[in-house]
């Protein structure tokens, strides 16, 4: 056999395109030219080895791509927030926090050196079990934890409600959430854990995640801390979104008719607050008794204050509603928080009993 023919046969074999006859021919040729055994072996090794040229950062590239895709589409379905998490995007954001934290500290001092009282709120009320349904809810100003029958731990933020079937009798573990809760879901591959909210269903397999689904807020947020979840939107059930750790999905609560140029959902990153100790996800700081505003408009801040302190907040001037605030507060009473926010934003407030009015 001509030597050239051997190279052709080896190429056909390596490409997986050789016929059985050609493979047999190659075997035969190799026997006749033992010299070629070594180079052919090397060639086979090269062919099968992994390419050494790999492109790093596929995830980043995909994010950039989705950004371009969403810019390109008129019917923006999904938008990617490519902004790096707080840790990677230092100055401006950090400075803002420092300013607000400083303001918070100042407010605390000004409050005539009041002794910091730890407000532990444990007003948990259980409704009588309706049929086979369990309901646990927290009032405004209260937070609570509960253990579900399967070992899942749930932290319930203020003004929230979790209901579930007695002992998860069915095949799946299903809970319904109104409000905000952090779930540390017990692993059980045979029984998926499903969280139902007004806007979305979240399917979970052994995971820690924070879900925020207050009916009076503009969006439903799912922040995944670890594990994996699959989310379906009630509005378009054919779309399924899988979150990876440290990703957060924000789904708008208003009807699609109103969402003109805005996407109905946004995929973004969980924000970490860099503290003295280890960084903690902003989305879960409420569990540690910290009230957090992460670039949130005053409108949203007001809702949070209402739930956290069980007060009524009235924004008298519409122009103030969209001004954004960031800050972390711990063990401060409502007047201290308002004082701190007032330092960074131009507004005045009055407190009359449980009613707070914010105006210019």
């Amino acid at each position: 056999m001509k030597e050239e023919k051997i190279w052709e046969l080896i190429i056909l074999k390596l490409s997986g395109e050789a016929s059985p006859e050609q493979e047999a021919d190659l075997e035969e040729a190799m026997k006749q030219s033992p010299d070629l055994v070594f180079p052919l072996g090397i060639l086979e090794g090269i062919w099968k080895s992994k390419p050494g040229n790999q492109l790093p950062g596929t995830a980043d590239r995909f994010n950039r791509h989705l950004q371009r895709l969403s810019n390109h589409l008129s019917e923006d379905v999904l938008q990617y927030d490519t902004a790096a998490p707080a840790s990677a995007q230092p100055s401006s954001r950090k400075k803002l926090y420092r300013r607000v934290l400083l303001a918070g500290a100042m407010a605390a001092c000004l409050a005539l050196g009041l002794i910091m009282v730890l407000h532990t709120r444990h007003r948990q009320e259980k409704a009588p079990a309706a049929a086979a349904q369990h309901q646990v809810y927290t009032k405004k100003g209260a937070r609570s934890t509960l253990h579900l029958p399967d070992g899942t731990e749930v932290w319930l933020n203020a003004g929230s409600k979790v209901s579930y079937e007695n002992n998860f009798a069915g095949g799946a573990r299903e809970v319904t959430l109104e409000g905000e809760a952090f779930f540390d879901v017990a692993k059980d591959p045979d029984r998926p854990f499903i969280i139902h909210t007004d806007m979305i269903d979240i399917r979970v397999l052994g995971t820690a995640l924070n879900v925020r689904a207050y009916a009076d807020e503009k969006a439903t947020e799912t922040a995944l801390i670890r594990g994996a979840v699959e989310i379906t939107l009630h509005r378009s059930p054919e779309k399924r979104i899988v979150l990876r750790p440290d990703e957060k999905l924000v789904v708008r609560n208003d009807s699609p008719a109103l969402t003109k140029p805005l996407p109905i959902m946004t995929l973004t990153q969980v924000h970490y607050l860099e503290q003295d100790q280890e960084p903690a996800p902003m989305e879960t700081l409420w569990m540690k008794n910290k009230l957090v505003f992460d670039d949130e408009p005053l409108q949203q801040v007001a809702l949070k204050l209402e739930r956290w302190y069980d007060v009524k907040v009235i924004i008298a001037d519409k122009a103030l509603e969209q001004v954004e605030y960031s800050g972390v507060f711990e063990n401060e009473d409502i007047s201290q928080v308002l004082y701190a926010l007032q330092l960074t934003g131009n507004f005045h407030y009055t407190i009359r009993g449980k009613v707070i009015t914010i105006g210019q």
């Binding site: 190429i11 070594f38 180079p39 791509h65 390109h72």
Partner: protein, 194 residues
Amino acid sequence: MKEKSIIADLQQKIALYEDMNAYRALYELLNERLFWFVYSFVKSREAAEEIVSDVFIKLWTIRNELPSIANLQVYLYVIAKNFSKNYIIREYKYPHVCLDEIPLDATTSVNPEELYISAEMAGRINHAIRELPPQCRLIFQMAREHGLKHQEVADILGISRITVRNQLTIAARKIAQSVYPHLQPAAAKQQSRC
């Protein structure tokens, strides 16, 4: 074969359910290959990334027509090639796609540890791969790394299947020769064909 069915499965999910996860999975599977393929033409990493992104935007906009595409991978390569051509025309103002001087970093290299060979020998192999004429090298990479069939490479590049096979044969011979110099040097006519 297995990869083919994965691609076909993702293709179906994207077409039927607008499944973003399938879309993402397909991107993750193919974006590197397409990147290096495009990079061979446009010789700029930024442009290559953008073109690959454009290819996947195109894929999303035609998702309803996906079921009628028989070989999605080849289809995407062809779009990538056309987009590269458009880019070059736009950028250099002349309609000539030239494969000369494929950037060296677009060429894969061989890892000695993976093949249990000496670093010196790996160096000779890498040198031989780099010395392959550009089209020959591109075809070698497409067939080897991207797992494309000869006919698929031929369809993408618009050449005949026989040419693909000949080019691969030449590549094989040159690489083998680099590790085993006693082999006769390739005949002159073969070299000119490459």
